[in-house]
């Protein structure tokens, strides 16, 4: 049976940006947002992700969730490449404020200033903020 995303809106490609603002655990935003990202990629759209505020913790190395009884879903970020999602941007100020560097992250990202991120957002057709 064909899935709904395989038969609708064929041909149109828009620029979708997902702005991830929350820590990976504590709320469900990061996990459920990742599901939207994967479906958007399945629609063959031009997908980019931004990690800002506590959202930078979503892609921090060494997440261990056994103690809180939650699934560690951070390996999914490493699988994004397989869905042709390669535009990952991180807000430098957010990273600096939390004492993190690119070496602390589980994926290759482009670290940008807030002005650069604002310019990038202006170029998008759809921005979803979680």
């Amino acid at each position: 049976m064909a899935e709904p995303w395989e038969e609708q809106s064929e041909g149109t490609v828009k620029k979708f940006m997902f702005v991830n603002r929350k820590a990976p655990y504590g709320t469900i935003y990061a996990l459920e947002s990742l599901e939207v990202v994967l479906i958007t990629a399945a629609f063959d759209q031009d997908v980019s992700l931004v990690f800002t505020d506590d959202g930078v913790f979503q892609i921090k190395k060494g997440q261990s969730t056994a103690g809180i009884g939650m699934k560690n879903f951070s390996p999914t970020y490493r699988a994004l490449e397989g869905y042709d999602i390669e535009k990952l941007y991180v807000d430098k100020e957010s990273l600096d404020a939390r004492g993190l560097t690119a070496a602390d992250l589980i994926v290759d990202v482009e670290i940008l200033s807030r002005q650069q991120l604002a310019d990038l957002m202006n170029e998008q057709d759809v921005v979803m903020s979680f």
Binding site: Q8, K14, I28, I39, Q45, V126
Partner: protein, 130 residues
């Protein structure tokens, strides 16, 4: 203009759904089209037919039902988010072996592809959340 609306918060705890409702009403009054309202995260709780707020408070679900019926708005509830939170339509309730269903009549259950499609088809997709 053709608008899509994404609602990420449930009724009462957050104002997001009220703001989205007021926006939708104003947009329609201004001659615009609401292509679809998509309910995600705790936003799925907007579709609960079992919500009974005090009589001197607004009834968020009823507001949606009336607005959607009067204007033929497509009201879509994310199936995965809804099932996590105990929101089931008659088919799903039966399939999952649950005693009852609780999705108000104007809402329909579907997948995240409907959100992506709204992003592609609409001139603007607006996120209402926290």
């Amino acid at each position: 203009m053709k608008f899509g609306i994404l609602i990420n918060e449930g009724p009462f705890t957050h104002q997001a759904a009220d703001s989205a409702y007021q926006f939708a009403k104003a947009a329609i009054a201004g001659g615009h089209e609401i292509f679809r309202v998509f309910f995600y995260h705790d936003g799925v709780n907007n579709a609960s037919d079992y919500s009974v707020p005090p009589q001197d408070d607004r009834n968020v679900t009823d507001n949606w039902v009336k607005l959607a019926e009067a204007n033929k708005i497509d009201m879509v509830v994310c199936i995965a988010a809804a099932q996590r939170r105990g929101l089931l339509d008659a088919n799903e309730a039966q399939r999952q072996g649950k005693r009852g269903d609780n999705i108000a009549p104007v809402f329909r259950i579907s997948g995240l592809g409907q959100l992506v499609e709204a992003g592609i088809e609409c001139d603007r997709l607006l996120t209402f959340g926290d």
